[in-house]
Structure formats: structure tokens, C-alpha cells
């Protein structure tokens, strides 16, 4: 299980989700030798089973600069990973069901404009109808981000992995990291399946398990393990292109090219992370179904064929942890994306690689520093 025969990696990435794979890819692109340690298999958890929204719309203002930069990478995703990742850009829309909600989205746009961002716009009822003919009559307008879209999560994460491997990265799957320690300028990482690896630098991209890694270096974080639920319908005739959310309630709604409709938005089931297991809460699934029933009358007779949940990390302030460790040198965090990390995958991998190879990033990551949780 030890990698004695292979050259020592320069960087060990803990976690084979999209963020781990993206960091591995960006580092490999710069000639850095990377080893990714994944406790299950790549894209096993949130990265493989999320809703696939590629969204700038409605993000926390701290995330907006990163999200805008990531969007540029998404629009050239084939150049980055040699696969289009199923990415399609038909915009994302957040409907307003009342005048009061429309006021809220107007204020949001004013706030973003003041910060110099123009990707979000308010549209009225008429344009909403033309973009989403199936929307319920009572919806009065919407917030829209026209460059947004959606991709296929497992395929995306897999594509990042494949490209990273093509550039020299190695992946070790099936053994969770049990011990992380630094000695003489070298990290030593042990895995549950008996592996022991060394590298000068470590990236903690362990998702819902990242707090355990952080705790090993003396920086505990208030990470909450959550299980956002999704459901999918049998195929129906194509009727909608953009991804639709709601202003006053929880929803993410989109139709795949094959006709199936994905319904989610972040209502939570129960996560049992030590058993890799989630349990659905059908009273909450019912709330989600009710929202669709209200907003898309044409969907009332649609058949739900499967529902599921992924295991994710959520931080108390709903934004991720990105950047260097506060306690140890040569350790970088990238976790806690709080159920909206998919779109940020391409850019945060690059930020992490920038930090490791150049000591700095040109994007504002101060709000994401791990030290914000220190007492």
C-alpha cells in the first residue's frame, strides 16, 4: 500500500471531490507532482450527486468575484478538461412570486451594481413568460443571470480527474486519511487501508470530512454535515431551458436534455457521515414537490422516479473555507462550500494552485480564511 516505488509527490490532496480534482489538475498543469487520496471513490459524495447548477445568481457577495472568474472557466471548460462536462448555458432565473419579492431582487441588483457587477438583472412578468413559458401565472418577475447554466456533476468531476491523471497526477482511492502530521518540513499522511505517504504540501479538500483533517492540525471548525435532497422525474417533453429557483422558497428546477426534470434546492435529509449514508425526509421532499406544484402547473402529473441526498459540509456563515491554514505552514484548505460549491470548482482549484506555487492569488479570498472561526 505504500508508494515507495513511486517518486514522492510535491502535494498531497486529501479528497477526490471536484475541489480536490480541480486543485490536482491546476497543480499538474504547472508540473507539480500531485497525489490525491480519496477515502471512497472520486465523486462519491456531493461532487457526484449534486444538482449541477453552474450559477453566479444570488451568491453571497464575498463569493461573487470568484464566481464570476469561475464562470469564465466554465465557458471554456472543454479547453480545460477535454470534455464539455454536459455544460449548457441557458441562464438561471430566480422567480419573484409577489411584488415584495420583486423589490427584494431589485435591491439585490442595486447592491451588485454598486460593487461593479452586472451579471444579474431584474426582468418583468412578460420576459419571464417568454423565458419560462411554463411558469405559473402568479409569478410577477424574476432575477436572471444569463450566462449561468448547468453541467453534469459526476461527469465533470470525472473529467477533472482524467485530465489531471493525463498530466501526471496520481489517485489513491479507498482509504480514508486517519493521521496527518508534519515533521522536519514534511507532511506524513496515513490512510485507513495502511497507506503512508509524504509530501511537503497538503491540500485539505475533504468536504464533509474536512473538519477532521483541520482538527488534526489544531484548528477545529464548526462544520455542519448536511444532506441536501434531490429528486428526478421520468422523461417529459422538453419545455424549459433555464434553471429556475425561487426568491421566497427553496427550489432548484431544471430539465436535462434527455427530458428528465431535476428538482432540488437544498431541503435537508439526514446525513450519517461515518456510514456514508443519507436518509430522506419525505415531509421535506413534499415541501419541495409542493413548490413545483405551485410554480409549474404542467408538472403536477409528472412521475418521480428517484430521490437522493449527498453528504456535504456547511459552514455557519454559508461560505467556504479557502486558503492557507492558520496553524501550520504548507497546508491549504478548500472545503465547506455549503451546498453551492460546484460552480466554484474550476476557480478554487486555480486559487489553491496559485497559493501553493506563487504564494498569492489575485482574487479576494480574505472572507474565506479559516481563522474567522477562531475564538
Amino acid at each position: 500500500m505504500t508508494a515507495t516505488a513511486l517518486p514522492r509527490p510535491d502535494v498531497i490532496v486529501i479528497g477526490g471531490g471536484l475541489h480536490g480534482c480541480s486543485a490536482a489538475l491546476q497543480l499538474s498543469m504547472r508540473g507539480v507532482r500531485v497525489l490525491v487520496l480519496e477515502k471512497d471513490h472520486v465523486a462519491r459524495h456531493a461532487s457526484g450527486v449534486n444538482a449541477g447548477g453552474v450559477r453566479q445568481l444570488g451568491r453571497h457577495v464575498a463569493e461573487v468575484p470568484l464566481s464570476v472568474a469561475s464562470m469564465a472557466l466554465w465557458h471554456g471548460i472543454r479547453d480545460l478538461v477535454d470534455d464539455d462536462c454536459g455544460f449548457e448555458s441557458h441562464g438561471q432565473i430566480k422567480v419573484a412570486e409577489t411584488e415584495a419579492e420583486l423589490e427584494t431582487v431589485r435591491a439585490r441588483v442595486a447592491e451588485l451594481n454598486a460593487l461593479g457587477f452586472t451579471h444579474e438583472e431584474v426582468i418583468g412578468q412578460e420576459e419571464l413568460r417568454s423565458l419560462v413559458p411554463a411558469i405559473a401565472d402568479h409569478c410577477v418577475g424574476a432575477l436572471v443571470s444569463r450566462g449561468d447554466g448547468a453541467a453534469i456533476p459526476f461527469r465533470t468531476t470525472f473529467a477533472f480527474r482524467r485530465k489531471a491523471i493525463a498530466l501526471g497526477a496520481r489517485f489513491q482511492e479507498g482509504g480514508a486519511v486517519t493521521r496527518l502530521a508534519r515533521k522536519g518540513g514534511l507532511w506524513s499522511v496515513e490512510t485507513a487501508d495502511g497507506g503512508r505517504f509524504e509530501a511537503p504540501v497538503v491540500v485539505n479538500a475533504a468536504g464533509a470530512w474536512a473538519d477532521r483533517i483541520a482538527a488534526q492540525v489544531g484548528e477545529p471548525v464548526p462544520l455542519e454535515v448536511i444532506a441536501p435532497m434531490l429528486m428526478i422525474t421520468a422523461r417529459v417533453a422538453p419545455f424549459i431551458k433555464p434553471v429556475v429557483g425561487a426568491t421566497g422558497r427553496t427550489l432548484s428546477f431544471k430539465q436535462f436534455p434527455n427530458g428528465t426534470v431535476l428538482i432540488g434546492g437544498g431541503l435537508l435529509g439526514r446525513a450519517v457521515r461515518d456510514e456514508n449514508r443519507t436518509e430522506l425526509d419525505f415531509s421535506q421532499v413534499s415541501v419541495n414537490a409542493r413548490t413545483v406544484w405551485d410554480l409549474f402547473p404542467c408538472m403536477r402529473g409528472a412521475t418521480i422516479v428517484r430521490s437522493w441526498a449527498g453528504i456535504e459540509a456547511r459552514m455557519p456563515d454559508q461560505i467556504p473555507v479557502i486558503g492557507p491554514s492558520g496553524t501550520e505552514p504548507d497546508l491549504y484548505h478548500s472545503f465547506g462550500f455549503s451546498a453551492h460549491g460546484f460552480q466554484l470548482g474550476p476557480i478554487v482549484g486555480r486559487i489553491t494552485a496559485d497559493l501553493i506555487t506563487g504564494g498569492a492569488t489575485d482574487l479576494p479570498i480574505a472572507p474565506f480564511r479559516i481563522g474567522r472561526f477562531a475564538a
Binding site: 461527469r155 436518509e279 418521480i304
Partner: protein, 487 residues
């Protein structure tokens, strides 16, 4: 009757009213437990005794005495006091929770009845979900005119329907012979039976023959096979099969092409009935989170159970073919054993009483299972019919070929769940019922490892499709729940 005070709480829910479910519900209720028997069909019987109360096939010799035995299970159920809710589709069984104010174990079951969904709370669940036909992926198996022998038998039982036009049956296993015999009694036309039982299986099965000589199925099976062989054209040693449509292979079934002793032959056919055995219908148990294991002898996944049918999930047990193929008589006894164990776990009978009461059922179970290893070995389908060639479709819902699955393995997908995420195989409405065993075996063969190592799909509720409207209207109060269940 219940800690919550709702009248729609039960001690035990039994899912499925085939032999295992009927026997389990009747026994548990007769000992005083409150029992609800849930089944999606409108009449009890499961698949094996399908429509036993109302079949239009009144001539008893057509379906045979084993079929009519099913009617004997209905009296005890009626007398037991079990509540029977036919037309109830169970789409979710949650893991037990003990976080109520009284700390008692409760299991939530999601079900649909008459177009409305509701959650039912029970303390123990016995899953008696039976078997499914093993997928038989050959080129052209998706053509109209090709169907499973089991499905064809359901049409015979429920509606008295037999195929019309040129009919070919192909495959192996007891059900194929039984159906051929039933068609003979009904006067249906069968042009040929293509027997795909591999010659070498006989060599492997022969050492197990002494066990089978004591099997209750031996006499009946031999008689039935001899009659079929006497009256019908049976072509043995068939090593390859394909169904063909019109020109360019489109449209509906026109002919069946088979290979025997290295030579291809063609038979015109309007109907092709395929069968190569049955496998446990484990979707509900899997979605509940019950551990399962690969059974090398039966070449299928089966939930892991103890000798009472208890699964790895406390409060959830299995009885009948859903826990491993044993046939109808074995299922009945397993249902009784699971019921006794459930009563014991609910504190209604002591361990000693459970064990004493179980003795005759266990003996009957052993008798029913006698010779099973011989049948399993003899009728293990040939690899060519389990692990098809590249251009054969394995996932019918998403039209994924065996070749696409192999390509996914080469790209790094090491098991069915990755293949599912990557290719969408098994993501359609059937949730892998038609492709699961095949995808497992194709990946295992491609990787050169055991199916046990590649695993199986993680299945998700709703295990049976429900409408968005049903989910949206999921009742929240006891009165609302009452409205769903009282009809």
C-alpha cells in the same frame, strides 16, 4: 393499540401478498399483533398465485395443482384479523427511528393508494417482495414481440391470454417448462422451445443429484418436462440467440436466430418468450439500506439475513424469494418464521415459544429447499447470456449497451454506481430491475474480479414511481392520513 394514538399505526407491516407475505401476515395477526398486509395488486397471491381468487382460467388442470395451493393461504389470512390493503404501492421503507417521546422504535413506510400517498408508521416490517425474472440481454430483446416468460404467465393467469401466431420460447429454468406445459393444457401454439441450458452444467450438477432425488419438485417436474418434450419441438444446446425485426432490424419481431453446434438457424416468430431464471427483487430492501451479498451459486445479489429472515437493519426482515430464490413452498415457511421472529422482537412471544413454534416450519422449509442446489447449478445461465457482447443493450430505460459499460470501466468506473453516474444506466424508472445483474457481471468480467467486489447499485426511494401531485399532497395530519387509508 399504538403509542401515537393514530389508528393507522400497526405493529407489523408485511409488504407483498405472495406466499411469504400471506403466510407471515396470517401467522403474526393470529397471535394478536396488529398487522397490515400491503400489496400493489388488487388481489392477493403475488406473482406465483397471481389472480388465484379471480382468474378466468377456470379449468383447474391448465394452471396445475401447485397454483391452486395459493387459494389455501387465503382462509387463514381472512381469519387472522390482519388488515389487507390491496392496491397499495409501497415506495419507501425508512430505517427505524427511536427519537419519539417514548423512545420506541418506529419505521415509516411511504405508500400510495388510489392515487394518494401517505406515510404509515409501524414497528416492524416484513418484506416479502418476491422475485424478478433475471434479465436476458440478447440482441433484439427490446423489440415488440419479445417478452419475459414470467410476464406472459401473468397474462395467462390474470386474463387467460395465450400468445397468437408463431411462438418461440427460449432459455432455461423450471418456469420455462411450467409455462410451456400450461400453454399445452390451454391448447396454445408453441413452435419451438430453444433450451439454452449449457451442456457442461449437467456435469457440475450431477454430484448434487442425490439431494434433488428427495425434492418434492422432482416427480412433478419430470412429469411435466416429459410431457412437454413429447408434444413440443425442443431444441437443446442453444449457445447464441438473437431476435430480429424486419429489414434493418427495425419494427417488430419477425424471427429468432439461434446457434446450435456452431451452426445458425432461423425460426419465424411473432412472439419470443425469454426466461433464464429469477433473482430476488431486492430494490426495497436495498433502498432501506439492508446489507446484501453476492450469491455465487444463484449468481445474484441477495440481502443478508439470519435464519429468521432478519436483515442488517433492526426491525426489517425478509421472507421468501426476495431474500434468495427458494420457490413458493419455501417462501411460505420463511414467511411464518419471519412472523414468529417479529412477534418475539416485539415482545409478544418469548424466545422459547418462538423456537418451539418454528420447529415444524423449519422442517417444512428444509424439505422445500431440498435439491435447490441441483436446480441452481443446472440452470445457471451461460456466461454469453449473462455477459452480452458489446452491441447488446443492457439498460433498456436509457439504451446503454454492454460496450458502453465496458468503455466506462476502462475510463475508471469500477462499479455499478459509478457506471450509473457516468452513463445513466440504471437511472431510469425501472431502477435497475432490468439491468442491475447484467451491469454487475459485465463490470466484474471486464475488471477480471468477482461480482462481489464490484458491488451493486445503491437504490433510492421512491422504489416505485409516484406522481409529483401525490408527493406534494403528502398528508400532514392524522385526519388527512385517515382520508387516504380508509378507502
Amino acid at each position: 393499540m399504538s403509542a401515537q394514538g393514530s389508528k393507522f399505526d400497526f405493529d407489523i407491516a408485511v409488504v407483498g401478498s405472495g406466499p411469504a407475505g400471506l403466510a407471515a401476515a396470517a401467522l403474526a395477526a393470529s397471535k394478536g399483533a396488529s398487522v397490515v398486509l400491503l400489496d400493489e395488486q388488487t388481489e392477493p397471491g403475488g406473482q406465483i398465485y397471481r389472480a388465484v381468487t379471480e382468474t378466468p382460467v377456470r379449468d383447474r388442470k391448465v394452471l396445475g395443482p401447485d397454483y391452486w395451493h395459493g387459494a389455501e393461504l387465503l382462509g387463514p389470512l381472512r381469519d387472522s384479523g390482519a388488515v389487507h390493503w390491496p392496491g397499495s404501492t409501497v415506495w419507501s421503507v425508512a430505517r427505524p427511528r427511536e427519537d419519539g417521546p417514548d423512545g420506541e422504535r418506529r419505521i415509516q413506510i411511504g405508500l400510495s393508494r388510489n392515487g394518494a400517498a401517505a406515510m404509515l408508521t409501524v414497528r416492524h416490517v416484513i418484506l416479502a417482495t418476491g422475485a424478478l425474472e433475471r434479465p436476458f440481454p440478447i440482441p433484439g430483446w427490446t423489440l415488440p414481440g419479445v417478452l419475459g416468460a414470467g410476464a406472459a404467465q401473468v397474462l395467462l393467469k390474470t386474463s387467460g391470454l395465450v400468445p397468437s401466431g408463431a411462438t418461440v420460447m427460449a432459455g432455461s429454468g423450471p418456469l420455462l417448462w411450467l409455462l410451456a406445459w400450461q400453454y399445452l393444457q390451454a391448447g396454445a401454439r408453441i413452435d419451438a422451445i430453444l433450451d439454452t441450458t449449457p451442456k457442461q452444467n449437467w456435469r457440475a450438477a450431477l454430484p448434487l443429484l442425490p439431494g434433488f432425488l428427495r425434492s418434492p419438485y422432482l416427480g412433478k417436474g419430470m412429469k411435466l418436462m416429459l410431457e412437454v418434450r413429447r408434444k413440443l419441438t425442443v431444441i437443446g444446446n442453444v449457445t447464441a440467440l438473437r431476435a430480429e425485426g424486419g429489414l434493418a432490424g427495425e419494427g417488430v419481431l419477425k424471427s429468432v436466430v439461434y446457434t446450435r453446434n456452431g451452426t445458425e438457424h432461423r425460426l419465424p416468430a411473432d412472439t419470443l418468450l425469454l426466461h433464464q431464471g429469477v433473482v430476488p427483487n431486492l430494490n426495497l430492501a436495498n433502498a432501506t439500506g439492508c446489507a446484501q451479498r453476492w450469491d455465487e451459486q444463484q449468481r445474484c445479489w441477495r440481502p443478508t439475513t439470519d435464519e429468521w429472515g432478519a436483515t442488517s437493519v433492526e426491525g426489517v426482515s425478509l421472507a421468501g424469494d426476495g431474500a434468495g430464490i427458494g420457490g413458493a413452498r419455501a417462501a411460505e415457511e420463511a414467511g411464518r418464521l419471519a412472523a414468529l421472529d417479529a412477534l418475539h422482537r416485539l415482545g409478544r412471544i418469548g424466545r422459547e415459544q418462538r423456537d418451539q413454534s418454528a420447529a415444524p416450519f423449519r422442517a417444512a422449509l428444509d424439505r422445500a429447499l431440498t435439491g435447490r442446489a441441483f436446480l441452481d447449478t443446472l440452470y445457471t445461465p451461460a456466461e454469453a447470456f449473462r455477459v452480452p457482447a458489446d452491441d447488446t443493450i443492457v439498460c433498456r430505460c436509457e439504451e446503454i449497451t454492454a460496450g458502453a459499460v465496458r468503455e466506462a470501466v476502462r475510463l475508471g468506473c469500477s462499479g455499478p454506481n459509478q457506471a450509473k453516474s457516468f452513463l445513466r444506466c440504471g437511472m431510469g424508472p425501472c431502477q435497475g430491475r432490468l439491468c442491475g445483474p447484467t451491469v454487475t457481471e459485465v463490470i466484474a468480467a471486464e475488471r477480471g474480479v468477482s461480482p462481489a467486489e464490484v458491488g451493486y447499485y445503491r437504490l433510492r426511494p421512491p422504489v416505485k414511481p409516484i406522481t409529483l401531485a401525490e408527493l406534494a399532497a403528502l398528508p400532514k395530519t392524522d385526519a388527512d392520513i385517515d382520508a387516504v387509508f380508509k378507502h
